[in-house]
Symmetry: C2
Subunit: 321 residues, 2 copies
């Protein structure tokens, strides 16, 4: 949860006056997004989400993120739409921080997603891959293969303080991925963080995807690898092949995977598991011991990684060549 | 901010089905109230606030708090109204905690209140004093004079670790209050925590008061003493007599103070300052050093206390006998 910056009324009223959305009747900091401060703003016309970008977001990336939301919405992908001010701008300043308003997306995220939701996410990933096509800006993935070894180095050899043998296990995996990370796969815009808390549903129908602040250009199939990790494991950390099968089938009804993409999926899934293992490990090691906000357990993704290492073939993901 | 408990969709849907308020289209944890978990729930009919009562609230007190909101609303005091389920009940259980839904109150709280807002708060206090009359339940104030010495004792003599001399200063004040705490003043229901973040405005007009979880029976004038501390000091900790004068004048237009209440006001103001000094001191001493949520500075209220000790008479509050 995250509200790092409080906003004075006068500041907010001056900010809102730049848009044609009526007068503020309520604004409340909400527990959504971990990197930024988010407010649910209600005016006498509608509800909106106001985001103040905090220091973990590079201001130079904001035109990419906000322009992407515009581009995706224009291509009928369900996501928040940035509000353009009377001056046409989407990005301005509030309380000393870069800030933007986006439309309010109805829906709730599923704490316990079922197979039907995984299929919806499969379709959403494929639709995003197509809708992102033609977007003029690009942004390198700052958390992909090339970045994992430096990220691991920044953990200063302290992985074994979390679990005995973890340091060596990560080293071996980094070496394996250096050898096996795919090189030529279809690439484009991906969300790169499409976890359940970023996907909203109304009833069982997907209503939209939020929080595009890890979006970037990368292999399109890497998005699937992230979602296999994010959606298809059960609370006991067992992989649910039924969920994966439905996710991949739904995806392919909209965007069929090439043989190369399918064959690369196990390596991509291992890489995605390692990416979240490493960022969680870093956060775990760098959170003060008495902190009230407890970081996520990195070992969840070590266990996911071990699953991907152990599979005998694509059938483990419910996939047939 | 406070969202201690996450709620699964199925649980929430089952809970909402107990009311006649439509289907959930969104729910978000909000940064409001420090003791409980609060959600802004939007249905296809309206917005509501859902509160899950966490361990700092005594479940035995909940009928008093929720009944009070009903009683006040029936007497035209602007506050959230508890929703009664189809079974008539306001208090039920969600995610293993006592939980209740209240109406959504439009408005924003003023981070930098001006004199006009202090006058509004004066009127609101007086209206609350009258509207609370006849409420059948009662609840002793667990943070009034009799409780301050035990609270200080629970700080285990560590006050000087916050500021040199603080321990002795509090001891002297406790002794003075033992001699000078008023005994016979008009009593009734008070909010007891009417700080700016609990008072909502639409424009400059007060739209309502929230967060009644310190409400209790006590001297009605003690409410004023709390608000003199909460509203009438400037950010540099200087007392603003103009704000106090307007607050007290507005109050008395609705409920004139007796001479005994006026004469007791300096002692009540000292007691109120000490009450917040002590609770903040306790929280300060008992928050882990690395905690992400920093406790409020207790010394703010030491400085307020020193102001009240130094006044030459009621004119310091803009009051004439």
């Amino acid at each position: 949860m995250a509200v790092y910056t409080d906003i004075a009324n006068d500041e907010l009223n001056a900010f809102i006056a730049e848009y044609d959305i009526g007068k503020v009747v309520s604004y409340k900091g909400i527990a959504e997004g971990v990197e930024n401060s988010n407010y649910l703003v209600q005016t006498d016309q509608d509800s909106f989400i106001l985001t103040l970008y905090e220091k973990r977001v590079n201001p130079a990336d904001l035109p990419f993120f906000l322009g992407l939301l515009d581009h995706l919405a224009q291509n009928d992908f369900p996501c928040p739409t940035p509000l353009h001010g009377r001056d046409g701008e989407v990005l301005r300043s509030l309380a000393g921080r870069p800030a933007a308003m986006v439309s309010f997306l109805k829906g709730v995220w599923h704490r316990k997603p079922r197979t039907v939701h995984c299929a919806d996410v499969g379709r959403a990933m494929a639709r995003l891959a197509l809708a992102g096509d033609g977007y003029a800006l690009s942004r390198a993935n700052s958390l992909t293969h090339a970045n994992w070894r430096p990220l691991f180095d920044s953990c200063e050899g302290r992985a074994d303080s979390v679990a005995s043998g973890l340091h060596r296990e990560i080293e071996v995996e980094l070496d394996w991925l250096d050898e096996n990370w795919p090189k030529d796969l279809p690439a484009g815009v991906i969300h790169a963080d499409m976890f359940p808390d970023n996907v909203f549903f109304l009833g069982d129908a997907l209503s939209g995807v939020i929080d595009f602040y890890f979006a970037c250009n990368d292999f399109l199939a890497y998005e699937i690898a992230v979602c296999l990790n994010a959606w298809c494991f059960e609370p006991d950390r067992q992989f649910n092949v039924t969920k994966a099968r439905h996710m991949l089938q739904a995806y392919q009804q909209i965007r069929p995977l090439s043989e190369a993409e399918m064959l690369a999926l196990p390596a991509l899934a291992r890489g995605a598991a390692l990416r979240f293992l490493l960022t969680r490990l870093y956060d775990w090691l760098n959170t003060p011991s008495g902190a009230l906000v407890k970081p996520h357990d990195p070992l969840q993704f070590r266990d996911y990684l071990r699953f991907h290492k152990g599979i005998k073939g694509l059938a483990a993901y419910g996939l047939e060549l």
